[in-house]
């Protein structure tokens, strides 16, 4: 996902029920960002309508300062009686030097207002906005005793079309280890749930995009951090190994989970046995790592790769675990058997 920090921050903040997000920016700036979010949410068939308010910075505010404009936007947000007001900023207030933190702290709703200094393009790219939002929102949670057997998912890609399928796959793997996801940070989790972040025994990051947030959270709550969702088949085995170890599970428990997963993968591959000995030509890799996942599946099915082979597409998003791989193989089978 491209765009400035605003897009990234909103892709996190928009998925918190009960929260209102105030974008301190000119109307056009917020509109552009929201249009992009809207398009991606449509693609992902997301039905939520995020509560976003824009401060509507004008030329006058640029010249005389936009602090009053932000304060008025906070007033409007407070009228909705949200559980939380999240404030994100565009490049304009950063350029003219608005003291947004002070405005948020001095507002009547200050105890329920969270300022995330994103600063539009000056704060970096969308990825940096996502991390800033995750780090900012994590301050809602106080350090707590960890509850054994619980994990928290950090930085799910809310605008990805397969977000729920990927979560289901990770939950399936965690179930093999007898681990439960208690916090999805931040995916349709209310403020009360987000405050439980400190109770999980391990953080699992969606992928390397949220590595900055992962580092910060791991340090603050003193918890192990798993760097990403499992990539394909061997990635799932490695994920079980690493997560089980991070959560302090015994070697026997981990070995049993791996054994079950190996069997599951075998059964899944048997469903595609009719692809063996097929010769395919893999398409262009949209994201780094997809080719490796595809080649592993190809090898395990006894297929071969050749420039003269049947052209098959690689999935747009990196296949997560067995379900992601299976989805890819369905697409291949359609191309190989039906053209």
């Amino acid at each position: 996902m491209a765009g400035c920090t605003l897009t990234g921050a909103l892709s996190v903040a928009c998925f918190i029920p009960g929260a209102v997000t105030v974008v301190h920016a000119p109307n056009g700036c917020a509109h552009q960002t929201f249009s992009m979010l809207h398009a991606l949410m449509n693609e992902a068939e997301t039905k939520i309508v995020p509560e976003i308010l824009v401060s509507g910075l004008s030329d006058k505010d640029v010249i005389f300062g936009g602090e009053a404009c932000l304060s008025q936007a906070l007033d409007r947000a407070a009228e909705k009686h949200p559980e939380l007001i999240i404030v994100v900023t565009s490049c304009v207030p950063e350029t003219i030097g608005d003291d947004c933190l002070a405005v948020c702290r001095e507002h009547a709703f200050a105890d329920r207002t969270l300022y995330i200094p994103t600063s539009g393009f000056l704060g970096g790219r969308a990825k940096d906005g996502e991390n800033a939002a995750l780090i900012g929102l994590s301050t809602l949670a106080a350090p707590a005793e960890s509850i054994p057997g619980t994990v928290g998912i950090i930085g799910e890609k809310n605008l990805e079309s397969e977000v729920e399928e990927n979560f289901a796959e990770v939950s399936r793997l965690l179930d093999l280890l007898d681990l439960t996801v208690t916090v999805r940070f931040c995916r349709n989790a209310g403020i009360a749930d987000l405050r439980k972040l400190g109770t999980v025994s391990c953080f699992i990051l969606r992928d390397g995009r949220c590595a900055d947030a992962g580092r910060e959270l791991g340090k603050r709550f003193n918890r192990p951090v798993i760097g990403e969702f499992p990539r394909g088949l061997s990635g799932s085995i490695a994920f079980l190994q690493e997560t089980g170890k991070a959560c302090g599970l015994s070697a026997d428990v981990i070995a049993e989970a791996i054994s079950k997963e190996t069997e599951h993968q075998k059964m899944m591959l048997e469903r595609f046995a009719n692809l063996s000995e097929s010769e395919v030509c893999l398409g262009v890799e949209p994201f780094e790592g997809t080719l490796a996942v595809a080649r592993e599946a190809l090898k395990r099915l006894g297929m071969t790769e050749s420039p003269e082979g049947i052209k098959v597409r690689l999935p747009f998003y990196l296949p997560v675990g067995v379900s992601g791989t299976m989805k890819m193989l369905y697409l291949w089978r359609r191309a190989i058997l039906h053209g």
């Binding site: 030329d59 640029v62 010249i63 005389f64 300062g65 350029t95 003219i96 030097g97």
Partner: protein, 268 residues
């Protein structure tokens, strides 16, 4: 139409000099406009007999349909006085304010007359303050400086802006000369004269320090109006005449800091 801009260090006397020059131009039966381009909005006060006129930016955002009489006020000698205005110190963007002011004046076709004097904020801190130079308003730039090192330093920095802007094919901005608004330092005139020479320009006027300036200001007038027969009034008139006759516009060559410091030491 002559478009003259005075740039220089804050507090060096740009507004006093601008107002007295405008008054002198008006005495020559010229149609004069003075535009204060500083958020302090005190450039035209002496021409307006101490009145703080509403600024363009205040009016722009307080009124839906702004008319020229809302922002242009007639002062001494029928000089049309305008103050751009701007934000309180430490907030907002004054540079953007300057740009918005010029856009409005242009839209209202208010930039006309025989001479327009632009009195611009001392330090060209951002693109907004360079805008009068960049967009062809400030065609003849005069540096106002004393012999003090920091004043020369500021003048030299403005030279850098003029030199850079002048490189553009669309640029009309040139350095027209240096005005020494004296602090009565020893060797001050010689020092400023040499500085002007080294940056590729010339000293066009030496304004001695005079109590008549202070007296006129206390009485909320320019020297030209308050004490028209004084020596100081004659200095401003001579300066105005020299400026009108001046056609020697140049692209300056700013000094390196070491050279500037060495120059200041030479004239101690």
């Amino acid at each position: 139409m002559r478009q003259i801009a005075l740039y220089g260090k804050g507090g060096i006397g740009k507004s006093t000099t601008s107002a007295n020059l405008s008054a002198a131009f008006s005495e020559m039966n010229l149609d004069v406009m003075q535009i204060g381009c500083d958020p302090k909005h005190d450039s035209t006060r002496m021409l307006m007999h101490g009145r703080w006129i509403p600024t363009v930016l205040e009016q722009m955002y307080d009124q839906k349909k702004i008319k020229s009489e809302d922002i242009i006020y007639q002062g001494f000698g029928n000089i049309r006085c305008v103050e751009a205005g701007g934000p309180e110190p430490g907030i907002g963007c004054a540079g953007r304010g300057i740009i918005a002011t010029f856009q409005l004046l242009e839209k209202m076709n208010s930039l006309y007359g025989d001479v327009i004097v632009y009195d611009v904020l001392g330090d060209v801190v951002c693109g907004g303050f360079a805008m009068p130079m960049r967009d062809g308003y400030a065609q003849e730039v005069y540096l106002v400086t004393s012999g003090e090192l920091m004043s020369l330093y500021a003048a030299n920095n403005i030279c850098k802006a003029i030199a850079r802007i002048s490189e553009r094919s669309t640029a009309k901005c040139r350095l027209a000369g240096v005005i020494c608004n004296a602090r009565n330092m020893e060797n001050e005139q010689e020092l400023v004269e040499e500085f002007a020479k080294r940056i590729g320009s010339k000293l066009i006027c030496y304004i001695p320090r005079s109590n008549s300036v202070r007296t006129a200001e206390v009485n909320q007038m320019t020297v030209i109006e308050h004490d028209p027969t004084s020596e100081q009034a004659a200095v401003y008139r001579d300066c105005a005449k020299t400026m009108l006759d001046n056609t020697d516009l140049r692209i300056p060559t700013p000094l390196e800091l070491e050279e500037l410091e060495e120059l200041a030491r030479e004239y101690l």
